[in-house]
């Protein structure tokens, strides 16, 4: 795996801060190697750069205190939730202290009438939905991993049902955050909208821990739909599938999920889950609404799909049958890995206008073939966002460099199509080289904001705008 650049270490400061933190936090402070490595990263494809120590914080005040101690000594602090980010967000290229927020795991208040909830950052999305079970409400953003809500906000996570319910950008009402000097701010109340000054909520969402550490979140909830229906349809080509997606979005059909799997991904799933889907591009859909509503939506989609050349349409509002239809997607990660047993998997994402999605996916598949990289593709087609999963032979010394070249090519191609180098994984270390290419002088504005709010560059240094 490629080793990200290291940054200069402030050895004196680190030693001093660690001494104070050890005393202050006792057993909730660790320098153990396993713990440090685990906090450097878990799921990212980049090589591990562990922090020097980990503090397990239990309150906002403890986070603030830790940041103040680190700020006094010019030492980096890196917030940690569940470690499921993908672009090296948790690495410590200049060393420093990881603040583990997993113990801040309380749901503080459900406001059912207002469809909002106040949570601590270490609550995971599944834990929250479990907690909400009896309220008739749910939290909609679903990035796949059972990530912490603080981490999901920090990376502006999204997932399969963003097409209907939006991303973390849309579902975070306000946050409490600890700034680089230990100040605690709150970016808003619980109103559903506000025009009161700069949108600091949206500035912190997606800032990847580089501007502040999120210590509390007010999140938007949705009513659990009366009925949920699942559907699938095969298409002769990615172009035909994308045509159906475009029509679906254009007529405003409120699909809750619309996922695209390319032929290679379908083949992998057939093999792994013992299914016999046609090995051509597949769309999987979910409809939320009243019973009559989801039936009408499914029928409308069927007509669109058939017009676009779709075949093998199946739909059901029955929970078990719906589970079977969606099985292909739920098993996808392990099915894709099984294409090349023993391989390393690297998941990368780009996002383009949906009119360019078919072209982007086809070109990516072609380029991967040319470069000898096995790369099945899964997409949140309604958003124009997709993942290519590179399966790399760990024994092949050239594999990592080829993968990086392919990521570079995908990034350049997405930019040329007026898209973005990442729709949901974030920049971290892995995509930092492409941010300037995408946004040019706007990245200088990001740097100016970073300098203004964190003049010592101690908050998650080396990420977004290193």
């Amino acid at each position: 795996m490629p080793a990200p650049a290291t940054l200069p270490r402030n050895e004196t400061g680190i030693a001093a801060a660690l001494g104070i933190l050890a005393q202050r936090f006792g057993e909730r402070f660790s320098r153990g190697e396993d713990i440090r490595r685990q906090h450097g990263h878990t799921m990212t494809w980049l090589a591990n750069q562990p922090p020097d120590a980990v503090v397990f914080a239990e309150t906002t005040e403890e986070v603030a205190e830790t940041v103040r101690i680190c700020a006094d000594h010019g030492v980096p602090v890196i917030p940690f939730g569940t470690g499921t980010s993908l672009e090296g967000h948790l690495n410590a290229p200049a060393g420093g202290v990881s603040i583990d927020l997993a113990r801040m795991d309380q749901v503080l208040r459900v406001n059912a009438e207002d469809l909002d909830v106040v949570v601590q950052p270490g609550v995971t999305r599944r834990q929250l939905n479990e907690y909400l079970r009896d309220t008739g409400l749910f939290f909609a953003v679903d990035p796949g991993a059972d990530a912490s809500l603080g981490g999901m906000a920090a990376t502006r996570a999204s997932g399969t049902n963003a097409v209907r319910y939006g991303t973390m950008r849309d579902n975070v009402v306000a946050v409490e955050a600890v700034l680089a000097d230990g100040t605690v701010i709150r970016t808003g109340g619980r109103a559903r909208k506000s025009s009161a000054g700069y949108d600091l909520t949206r500035l912190l969402v997606g800032s990847e821990g580089t501007l502040g550490i999120i210590t509390e979140l007010t999140l938007r909830l949705h009513g659990i739909p009366e009925a949920i229906s699942g559907a699938r349809c095969s298409f002769p080509s990615v172009e035909a599938a994308a045509e159906a997606v475009i029509m679906t979005i254009q007529i405003g059909l409120p699909v809750a999920r619309i996922e695209l799997l390319d032929a290679m991904a379908v083949g992998a799933i057939n093999a792994y889950s013992k299914l016999d889907l046609p090995e051509t591009p597949l769309l999987l859909l979910e409809f939320h609404g009243s019973e009559a509503g989801v039936a009408e939506q499914a029928e409308t989609f069927r007509e669109i799909a058939v017009d676009a050349g779709g075949t093998g349409f199946a739909a059901s509002a029955d929970a078990e049958e719906r589970g079977r239809i969606w099985r292909a997607r739920h098993d996808a990660y392990w099915a894709l890995r099984a294409l090349e047993p023993g391989s390393d998997a690297l998941s990368t994402d780009v996002c383009v206008p949906i009119s360019r999605l078919a072209e982007m996916i086809s070109a990516t598949a072609e380029k991967a073939r040319e470069m000898g990289i096995t790369a099945p593709i899964l997409g949140h087609a309604g958003d124009g966002n997709f993942h290519a999963i590179f399966l790399l032979d760990p024994a092949d010394p050239g594999a990592a460099a080829r993968a990086e070249r392919l990521i570079g090519w995908m990034s350049e191609t997405a930019i040329a199509m007026e898209g973005t180098v990442t729709g949901e994984h974030g920049i971290g270390q892995g995509k930092a080289a492409y941010l300037d290419r995408e946004l040019g002088p706007a990245t200088d504005v990001m740097r100016a904001i970073k300098r203004a709010l964190d003049p010592q560059d101690i908050l998650n240094p080396g990420k977004i705008v290193p």
Copy 2:
């Protein structure tokens, strides 16, 4: 009308910059008093503070050039669209140059497949929807006034159908903007979502011209619904109406509009529009969807309304009949003004969690009565946002001070209910005193960002964080 504070003027700089701009822009540069006054404000309730001159820009490069000239001489620049903002956003408390963007009025590109459009900032929302007429698409944000899209983005405008389609926060995909030093940036491409770095789009949306001047916008469009139905229902109390609103939102009924008028507003409309609505709180609704869908939505709402004590329910998907149902709302502004002919009208807004909406509205009406201010109320009830329209006797020397006290009381009360001092009008000059009260130390973050991006404080000084 209250006179906002003035700020120190840089007379030498202003004289020098005006000389250069006069030469550069010829007939598109004006120092005429009428033009200057009209650019200081049109619809705000605050006293006029005209700029020293107006430049009528026609290109991004001309905006950048004007900003560079003003930056070289430390002279304020204030962007101007249609002048329909309400909180003194356009006033020039330190003098300077208003840049009128109305001539940048071209729709540059409609991307029907991607549901987006690229426009210049002087395009108004009606002009855009007129342009889109044959595409089956529309731009959803509707603040009432036929405002420019650049101005709507700058003030994070919203309006009656934000409950379904969101505010400018949700409907701006990316912007091009001129910064305080004349640099031109673009905050993104046309992807529907992105995790690439800080959300500069959302930072500029709602920054009221204090961080950059928006010179181009990529906006999200929606498909014109197959069917639109209108409905109305009267309620015995604001509490009963709010109960129906809460249930409606909670079950996820996708209402496109849900407007609340208090008894005083209904009385005014009866008198003005010769209607005979019961003079009790009224909800007006609009449903968008398929023909079956809107009928189902209207019926579901009827059941909710009746449960909450609603009477006189009427609904229709017929365009003419729907027009009659909504007539009450369309005539509202003039109807309310007619309550006290010759009065000055001051429109203020706050936004609270919808569980607190009834309490907030009732308390506001009671407080206004106590203070002797006639103040009918109209609300975007689904968002918890409402307007109180103060009708003030221009011959009463104490009226303005009383109005300011009532605004202060409403702001404090909304904050205590975890709401915001403005849901859609913005801060400008009028609400600047309450921003610190609402957000405390978070306003220091706003100040730090402002200083970092505009160290000379030349972009619309005296607004948001004066």
